[in-house]
């Protein structure tokens, strides 16, 4: 059993070798980042995953919020569970609807790092276009665990 901040989990979500790799990546974190899980509560693998991630960096924290808080985070109940990231400038507008499994887990880690460093990896042309936007754009990227 692994004792994790007062909790015991019989089986970790992240294998040991993956935890080591992720811990090394998270050493790149600049400013502190908070991961926020908004869901219906109860036992969940997503809660356990984020709890394990939380333990891999002192600059990472984790907060769980319930359905009653969905509106506050700009979410609807139908889109739960959702993972949000909060950085030095507030809530990121990039979020995860459902579990970030497979390739998407790597995207979550990279988003945490990018948000903490203020790194925006876009071309100058894209940045200029985004600066010209006057309407809202909602991008939903559908993926499946691989």
């Amino acid at each position: 059993m692994a004792a994790t901040k007062g909790r015991c989990s019989l089986l970790a979500i992240l294998p040991t070798n993956v935890k080591q790799q992720v811990e090394e990546m998270l050493a790149q974190i600049g400013d502190p980042i908070k991961m926020i899980l908004v869901d219906e509560g109860g036992s969940s693998e997503l809660d356990q995953l984020l709890t394990e991630l939380d333990e891999l960096s002192p600059k990472l924290s984790y907060q769980r919020a319930g359905v009653a808080d969905a509106d506050r985070y700009g979410l609807v109940e139908e889109s739960l569970p959702s993972i949000l990231l909060e950085g030095p400038e507030g809530l990121s507008r990039a979020r995860f609807t459902g579990a970030p499994a497979g390739h998407e887990f790597g995207v979550l880690i990279q988003d945490i790092i990018d948000l903490s460093q203020g790194e925006i990896q876009l071309s100058d042309a894209t940045k200029r276009y985004l600066e010209s936007l006057t309407e809202d754009v909602h991008l939903q990227v559908f993926t499946t665990p691989t």
Partner: protein, 61 residues
């Protein structure tokens, strides 16, 4: 893009978990990007400029 512009929200959606959305947007292969609740779609992984062009279809240049 969502980290750069206050006008953009980017959401990664688990297609297996959100069947209603998956059916609504006829997601048969992934990744599939839905722009503004279905006003335009992008199939597959595409370069950044391709996605910008797709956004322009919806909200203009």
């Amino acid at each position: 893009m969502a980290m750069y512009s206050p006008h953009v929200i980017a959401e990664m959606v688990d297609a297996n978990e959100f069947w209603d959305l998956t059916r609504k947007h006829n997601v048969r292969g992934v990744p599939k990007t839905v722009i503004n609740e279905g006003r335009h779609y992008v199939e597959g992984a595409v370069p950044e400029d391709h996605l910008v062009k797709a956004i322009q279809v919806v909200v203009g240049s």
